[in-house]
């Protein structure tokens, strides 16, 4: 299983209901072929200005879908995307390991300063707690 990211642009002339149906169709395709759809979103608020006109169209709906699947699925998905007339452009990219490794690192760094600060407040209550704890065993000894 590999992680992939598919981005495709749907024609703005397609109505909302039909567009959602289309998005559903592609995510269904992934799940039907043993893939797991992780996320589907209207990227950048959905409707976006294209950097250049494609077939005289200057706007499009950007859909971003992340999924994990076997290596044969992206080709099948691309085939379906290319057949669909409402899809202006598509891009299926494999998500590299580096992508996910970026985030854990800052998390690991963060606990270290917290751990250094934490013992100081704990040390003070420990001293206060000690005299309280001390009389208690004496009582038990006396009894």
């Amino acid at each position: 299983m590999n992680r992939y990211e598919a981005m495709y642009i749907i024609d703005t002339s397609v109505e909302e209901a039909a567009r959602k149906e289309l998005v559903e169709k592609f995510s269904q395709l992934v799940t039907d072929n043993g893939g797991i759809v992780e996320k589907v979103e209207d990227w950048g608020g959905g409707r976006r200005h294209l950097a250049f006109a494609i077939d005289y169209k200057t706007e499009g709906y950007y859909i971003l879908m992340t999924f994990s699947s076997e290596s044969a699925l992206p080709r099948e998905l691309e085939r379906n995307l290319s057949i669909s007339d409402s899809v202006i452009r598509y891009l299926v990219v494999k998500l590299e390991e580096k992508h996910s490794k970026v985030k854990p690192k800052p998390v690991r760094v963060a606990p270290a300063p917290v751990a250094e600060v934490a013992p100081a407040p704990e040390a003070a209550p420990a001293v206060e707690a000690a005299p309280e704890a001390a009389p208690a065993p004496e009582k038990t000894d006396a009894e």
Binding site: M7, I9, L50, A51, F52, K98, V102
Partner: protein, 85 residues
């Protein structure tokens, strides 16, 4: 010794001050350049939409390779232009 060093400095062509450029991606500690990060990537294209060379941007080789890949992906999905007239 010190005289030699002085000579070498003066041997440089006049008017040019070589300043060490640092890779913008290394500074920001970015391990992966995403094609969706259009605003960051766009700064490395010139007004014609071309990819700025390493000698201009000062990027390290590793990040320049990633950057060119990201720009080309962004172009394919119409996030960045191929050319600007």
């Amino acid at each position: 010794m010190s005289e030699d060093r002085g000579d070498r400095r003066s041997a440089r062509p006049r008017g040019r001050k070589p300043r060490r450029k640092v890779c913008a991606f290394c500074v920001d500690k970015i391990a992966f350049i995403d094609y969706k990060d259009v605003n960051r990537i766009r700064r490395f294209t010139n007004e014609r939409g071309k990819i700025v060379p390493r000698r201009m941007s000062g990027n390290c080789a590793k990040h320049q390779r990633q950057l060119s890949e990201a720009i080309k992906r962004a172009r394919a999905i119409a996030l960045l232009p191929y050319t600007v007239d």
